[in-house]
Symmetry: C2
Subunit: 155 residues, 2 copies
């Protein structure tokens, strides 16, 4: 477990709110010099705490208005690696979670419309040894923006 102190957690929190924040702005926020902040962020990347930076997109505005989760159940002989590989090959798949219990997976999908959703689910059913599916259509969503897990007194 790497040592990540309170200032590091505050930097992570600031970057969660705005990943393009400048080092100077963060420096003023945490009371360190710009160079010290940059060194800390560089270090957080090196030790793998920060895995990257990304943009948040409103996909509905791009015409990808439908979001769904599909639970897939596989034959007992299907290896996990195969489950992931088949699902990731479908471009509409945003994320794949392998799940404890019935050797299942939960798949996050984004599509244009319901017809498109049906196509994608059908494709998932056909790929590999899928023995059952259950699809949850997302009506609305909320995501935590800042802070998140690293509460003060973290690690």
């Amino acid at each position: 477990m790497p040592d990540v102190d309170d200032i590091d957690h505050r930097l992570l929190s600031l970057l969660r709110e705005d990943g393009r924040r400048t080092f100077s702005e963060m420096a003023a926020e945490v009371g360190l010099s710009v160079a010290a902040v940059k060194r800390r962020v560089d270090r957080l990347r090196e030790i793998g705490v920060i895995t990257g930076f990304t943009v948040q997109v409103d996909y509905a505005k791009l015409g990808w208005g439908i979001e769904a989760f599909t639970e897939l159940r596989y034959a007992g002989t299907t290896p996990v690696s195969r489950i992931v590989r088949t699902a990731t090959g479908v471009p509409e798949v945003q994320a794949v979670f392998t799940i404890a219990g019935d050797q299942d997976s939960l798949i996050h999908i984004r599509v244009r419309d319901l017809g498109h959703l049906q196509q994608v689910v059908d494709r998932l059913r056909r790929t590999g040894e899928v023995t059952g599916t259950k699809t949850l259509l997302v009506l609305g969503s909320w995501k935590r923006d800042a802070a998140g897990p690293p509460l003060p007194g973290g690690v």
Copy 2:
């Protein structure tokens, strides 16, 4: 539906890979001037296609090693707003998806360990008129890094 052309999609794709990419780097990539790229990105923010930028964190490295999805079923009289409000009040909750069907919700949770998970699930059960839960423990996950939905020829 706002007009987002191929270059905009390429910019979004580049920013999905690395949200801190410089405008100059993206300019070279898409063959425009730095100023033109900045104006496009500014515009994508204004029209709401870009909702923000954020850092990607490996929470396991911060000691938050357990990830789970909990399906909550509510009494028929519970309004959606109440479902969201009660769940978002729990700090371990990362995201709340309201789901079509049985007036359910799917809740993404991140916790330190299994004991912690049990506490959080218990807390969710007690809040509001929850009539049933089912928790999916995440063993592994994969997330699409780049491009995603906006395939060439988008919208």
